[in-house]
């Protein structure tokens, strides 16, 4: 099974519960936390990569606990109109999701390789990289 990347949103009431632990213990999933934070309202956000046979069961478990689950692919988008293919993002991107295609020298964005670190969002001089929540 290829890994799935999901964005999880935890309401304040459950942000302090050991929920991710259950994915490992009860659903035998391999997890990789790519990004996590808790906002001042105590709501949690996590970008998670999950691999295993029971990914769907695990995600259903999360939903039953009140966690909002969204696929990650929609998260960072490139505004094609604004991108000028300068390449200022390409050496900043830690995973190579943004890269020069040669010899066209066009900047390509591979959403599969993106871990939503958002470095490109701030570094892009044209403000072409957008976070979609």
């Amino acid at each position: 099974m290829p890994p799935s990347k999901v964005v999880l949103r935890f309401p304040a009431a459950i942000a302090d519960k050991p929920i991710i632990y259950r994915l490992v213990k009860d659903y035998d999933l391999m997890i990789n936390i790519l990004k996590a934070n808790i906002n001042p309202h105590k709501e949690g956000m996590m970008v998670l990569e999950v691999t295993g046979e029971k990914v769907e069961d695990g995600l259903d478990y999360l939903r039953r606990q009140g966690v909002a689950v969204q696929p990650l692919t929609e998260e960072i988008i490139r505004n094609e109109e604004r991108c000028t293919h300068c390449g200022a993002c390409t050496a900043i991107c830690p995973t190579g999701a943004l890269y020069f295609e040669r010899p066209s020298m066009l900047v390509r964005f591979d959403g599969e390789a993106c871990v939503v670190c958002q470095l490109c969002v701030r570094a892009c001089p044209m403000k072409a990289m957008e976070v979609r929540f």
Binding site: T84, C86, G87, A88, T90, M105, L119, R122, A123, M126
Partner: protein, 406 residues
């Protein structure tokens, strides 16, 4: 005896629809295949281009007169301050002017989301822009304030006037320090984490006519998608020949152009507001120059490939901010464009601030304009100073005020 052409002969061929135009990239290949002599015989014109942030840019405006009239004392466009120290309703807006109330670098690195460059982009995109001005009131200009909305088509004149564009060559920026740097060369990761360069190399106008044999005052150019002109050498025009490594073509490095053109002809594809994290705002400008192949020498320089064009590697941790002229060596544009270079034995990923893809597109557009007879070449009215002029940078030293009226 090699080939010799004049501007007039080439223009006659353009008008007759018989001109042979190639892009700089095509000329590089042609010369590799057939040699300089043969290529010079076949080709009349080569087109060059660059698309990059160019901070020393801006625009002059005349907004027309209100009733009653006002003489601007202070003026803002979309809350970005412009310079009003001109006649009543004239103003100059600089590309790096920052919107009032911008947090700047108070919580570094600042994002600098909107400024002069963005106002210029909004205007050429035909988006409405808020004009606000205050006056102090005179008998001839009684109004003291005005707030209205304009578009580019509503105002009398708008012309781009960029004191320094199209840098002949530029540094490859790196960071040997221990913290991330936020610069006009982009985000530079610590300990040589990346290297950023900023010209289009073998497509770049002044690298292709390095001794300014064809580009001079009066040269008609592609500017921001419209027609513009070279009006002077640019500020900080220091066209000396640096101490280049073996394998590099011996050419000057520091030439610049001052350019102007009618903003109303230009487009947001080629004039783009730009935000450099932690540094400020700027304007990315598309410039294209057509070089007439007057003889084999012009053809030789115009056909130098990326592997013969070199950029100095400059450390932005110490050397640049402290104005030390040292560099960490030289690197060819072929290496830079490959995606990685080696500095002090370390492999460093490279990236560009200047869009090679867009520069290539400018070369192609200009080629089509010439083929269609829409763009004629211009012989310079006066030449630009070359390396023989011996211009050296002056420095700004800190000293007390004596005399003068300061």
């Amino acid at each position: 005896m090699g080939v010799h052409r004049t501007f007039a002969e080439i223009n006659a061929k353009i008008k007759a629809g018989k001109v042979v135009v190639v892009t700089a990239e095509e000329l590089v290949s042609l010369v590799e295949e057939k040699g300089v002599k043969q290529a010079a015989q076949e080709v009349d014109v080569v087109t060059t281009g660059t698309f990059s942030p160019m901070c020393s840019s801006g625009a002059f405006f005349n907004f027309g007169h209100s009733v009653p009239r006002i003489k601007f004392f202070r003026v803002w466009l979309n809350d970005v301050p412009a310079y009003a120290g001109l006649a009543a309703v004239d103003a100059f807006l600089g590309a790096t002017a920052v919107r009032e109330g911008d947090p700047l670098n108070t919580d570094p690195p600042g994002e600098f989301r909107y400024g002069g460059g963005h106002v210029i982009e909004d205007l050429v995109a035909r988006r409405p822009v808020k004009l606000k001005a205050v006056g102090y009131g005179t008998d001839c200009y009684p109004r003291r304030e005005i707030e209205t909305v304009i578009t580019l088509d509503d105002i009398n004149e708008a012309f781009l006037f960029n004191p320094r564009n199209a840098y002949q060559n530029y540094a490859c920026a790196v960071n040997t320090g221990d913290r991330t740097l936020y610069t006009y060369m982009g985000v530079l990761k610590p300990r040589l984490g990346n290297a950023h360069y900023a010209t289009s190399g073998q497509l770049s106008p002044l690298l292709k006519d390095p001794f300014f044999r064809t580009i001079g005052i009066g040269t008609r150019i592609f500017l921001g998608g419209g027609i513009g002109y070279v009006v002077n050498h640019g500020t900080q025009h220091f066209p000396s020949i640096p101490d280049l490594p073996p394998g590099a073509v011996r050419i000057p490095s520091g030439g610049t152009l001052a350019v102007m053109g009618d903003l109303k002809q230009m487009s947001p594809r080629w004039l783009r507001g730009t935000s450099m994290l932690g540094y400020g705002v700027s304007l990315s400008v598309g410039i294209g120059v057509a070089i007439p192949i007057l003889d084999e020498e012009v053809c030789y320089y115009a056909s130098r490939p990326d592997r013969e064009l070199y950029a100095p590697i400059v450390d932005y941790a110490e050397a640049y901010p402290q104005r030390r002229s040292e560099n960490l060596g030289w690197v060819s544009y072929a290496e830079l464009r490959s995606g990685k270079i080696t500095i002090n034995g370390k492999e460093v990923p490279t990236a560009s601030l200047s869009s090679y893809a867009r520069a290539r597109e400018i070369c192609q557009i200009l080629k089509e304009w010439i083929q269609e007879g829409k763009f004629l070449l211009t012989e310079p009215v006066a030449p630009l100073p070359g390396p023989e002029a011996g211009i050296v940078p002056k420095t700004l030293d800190i000293r007390g005020v004596k005399g003068g009226r300061g």
